[in-house]
């Protein structure tokens, strides 16, 4: 059932087996899974069913690092930031869970096998039509054509699935079920302001909730799960007396995927893979939900070049380059045999680029290395509920830029070696990290079996606090290059099983 906190009254307490803070992808999927285990859940959501400026303003934060799109990178309403999700996703590859010697602070305490059983279920939650993500060479539109990228082994074709029929809004999907649920009470317009613990901070006893316009609620639960996103999870822990921060780990290693419009790929052979529709990302539009296929740096390449996760997809993108692809006479190089000048096809939203495309933009999604200096802290300013605002210090390292340059150039070489296309790069030398492109915040309550190296254990339970858990991508020690939503939901489903076990025991 839904309860509007504004209508509850002055003070009221709720009790439940589990209190979940945040009604986004992590929190909603967790709540629904806990209900299936027979547990009573209070789901605490700051917003309502529609965006509200006053509620969104509670996310005010200062940015002291690299420029960061603070106002738009997260949504504070029922359904969470998934309300502007594009619906593109895929699981983390097994390689991403491993410790990489060349990446400090890398390595998950769990392996791919731990999440594998949950990915199909997560796909069902998100309406991803196919739970297999392997590239199938047999699906090539045309046979007998040049190989995709030669035999370098540096880059491999990869598939991103898109939710069907549109970008799934998990809030909408479960709204009726929650409304009718006897075990889930979703408090709307209820803002978690503080976790109140026992004297030794070993157990959360009460969760305080503030309501805009006045009023305070309290929730007592056997277990509390923070599922409010990587920034807010850290902020809430820090603003609750530094809960879980005995080793100064809360808020550190804040990361986001870098989205880069790297340049262009020029197609020079009629049999190029780039002429296949699936390799050309369509502009988003209603009714057009085609899976995407691109390329990612292989583990062998990343080991050899000591690089980070790197993926690439071609599409009708416009890389930022004032000169444009025809600069300095090079445009002349791009004439076809018929003398026609190479040009980008005219596309409108929803168009699939036509097969006579000669050049396409290249979009890279890349991993940011864990950086303890990239962190969330508390500012001195307070929001309308008296809570201290977050300070976002997004800091990149030379390793991030080096990996981007190395991978982009190697991709260009692989394309050249294949002999059917050429790459022109732009904008990878100017230290332009296009932030917040996906709002894929991660890393602020990272998992580790060692309390000195992480905030939570391998199940997402906060070290040193018996009944406090964290859900969502803030658990990620590293984020790889894959869009994270599927992994976020898979982790929540796994955590629900664990919570049910703990509850029974």
């Amino acid at each position: 059932m839904f309860v509007d906190a504004r209508a509850v009254g002055e003070t009221r307490s709720f009790a439940a087996d589990v209190a979940v803070v945040g009604g986004g992808a992590a929190g909603l999927s967790l709540a629904v899974a806990l209900e299936a285990h027979g547990l009573d859940v209070v789901l605490i959501e700051s917003g309502g069913f529609a965006p509200e400026a006053a509620t969104q303003a509670l996310y005010a934060a200062a940015s002291t690092g690299a420029p960061y799109p603070v106002p738009t990178c997260r949504l504070r309403q029922y359904g969470g930031t998934l309300n502007h999700w594009g619906g593109t996703t895929r699981p983390l590859d097994a390689f991403e869970f491993e410790r990489h010697d060349w990446v400090p602070h890398s390595g998950w305490p769990i392996g791919a096998a731990d999440l594998a059983p949950y990915y199909p279920r997560a796909a069902a939650v998100l309406d991803v039509p196919r739970a297999d993500f392997a590239f199938d060479p047999a699906e090539r539109d045309s046979q007998g054509l040049p190989p995709l990228l030669g035999d370098s082994g540096d880059f491999a074709p990869v598939v991103w699935r898109r939710t069907q029929p549109g970008a799934t809004r998990v809030g909408d999907k479960y709204r009726d079920a929650i409304a009718e649920s006897r075990r889930i009470r979703c408090l709307l317009h209820a803002n978690a302001t503080q976790l109140v613990t026992d004297g030794e901070s070993r157990t959360v006893e009460t969760l305080r909730l503030g309501v805009l316009g006045g009023g305070e609620l309290r929730v007592r639960a056997r277990h509390v799960v923070l599922a409010a996103g990587a920034i807010e999870n850290a902020r809430l822990l820090l603003d609750s007396g530094g809960l879980g921060n005995a080793h100064d780990q809360v808020g550190r290693c804040f990361a986001d995927h870098g989205f880069h419009l790297l340049g262009w790929v020029l197609v020079t052979h009629p049999g190029s893979w780039l002429r296949e529709e699936r390799f050309m990302r369509a502009l988003p539009a209603p009714g057009l939900r085609r899976d995407d296929t691109g390329f990612a740096a292989t583990p062998a390449f990343r080991r050899r070049r000591k690089s980070l996760g790197f993926s690439m997809i071609a599409g009708p993108f416009d890389p930022v380059d004032e000169a444009g692809p025809g600069a300095a006479g090079v445009r002349e190089l791009t004439r076809g045999p018929d003398g026609q000048r190479v040009r980008r096809p005219k596309t409108a939203p929803g168009d699939v680029p036509q097969s006579d495309t000669r050049w396409m933009g290249l979009l890279a999604v890349v991993e940011q290395s864990p950086n303890p200096q990239s962190r969330i802290t508390l500012g001195h300013e307070r929001n309308a509920l008296g809570a201290r605002n977050a300070v976002i210090h997004h800091a990149l390292q030379e390793a991030d830029w080096r990996s981007l340059r190395t991978s982009a150039e190697a991709f260009g070489v692989a394309v050249a070696k294949a002999g059917h296309s050429r790459v022109r790069l732009a904008g990878i030398d100017g230290q332009r990290w296009i932030q917040g492109g996906g709002g894929h915040h991660s890393g602020t309550t990272r998992m580790s079996d060692d309390p000195k190296r992480g905030v939570t254990d391998r199940h997402g339970r906060v070290h040193g606090v018996a009944n406090l858990w964290v859900a969502g991508s803030s658990l990620f020690p590293t984020a790889g290059w894959a869009h994270p939503t599927l992994s976020v939901v898979a982790l929540s489903l796994r955590q629900a099983d664990r919570l049910a076990e703990v509850q029974k025991s």
């Binding site: 006479g329 090079v330 002349e332 190089l333 004439r335 150039e409 260009g412 070696k417 002999g419 050429r422």
Partner: protein
């Protein structure tokens, strides 16, 4: 900028004219067949037979502007590799010879495999391709 010597074809003796003419025809025939076959097999942006000297030279011009010492060194290397008798054949023939020399698919692939890669105006190119562009710029 050092330039490749380009002696005027022709000489005082009829015998020399005849020999040069024969050489030109032979070289042209020898170059035409593999170039066409090569283009049909593995065309790349710089390997197209339709690319004019001017177009390739545009890239060389860019390189010369960005990194003149490198452009000059690469151009000298190409010039040194060209057989003496082809230097006498005029711009078009010299260009064909240089194209064949630098854009041999095996040579381009070897460059790429060995990491002999240069970025000019953003283009990821094999070193031999850039050398051709640098040399072509000097010729025009």
């Amino acid at each position: 900028m050092p330039r490749i010597a380009t002696p005027t074809p022709g000489g005082s003796s009829a015998r020399r004219n005849f020999l040069l003419g024969t050489l030109r025809v032979a070289a042209g025939l020898a170059l035409l067949r593999p170039t066409a076959a090569h283009a049909a097999r593995t065309p790349g942006p710089l390997a197209r037979p339709d690319l004019s000297t001017r177009r390739i030279a545009g890239l060389g011009e860019r390189l010369a502007r960005e990194d003149r010492p490198t452009a000059e060194r690469l151009a000298r290397e190409v010039a040194a590799e060209l057989p003496l008798w082809l230097r006498l054949a005029g711009t078009r023939r010299r260009m064909q010879a240089a194209r064949r020399l630098c854009l041999d698919p095996r040579r381009v692939a070897a460059d790429l495999d060995a990491g002999r890669v240069l970025r000019v105006d953003g283009w990821i190119l094999a070193r031999s391709e850039v050398a051709l562009a640098a040399w072509a710029h000097q010729q025009t």
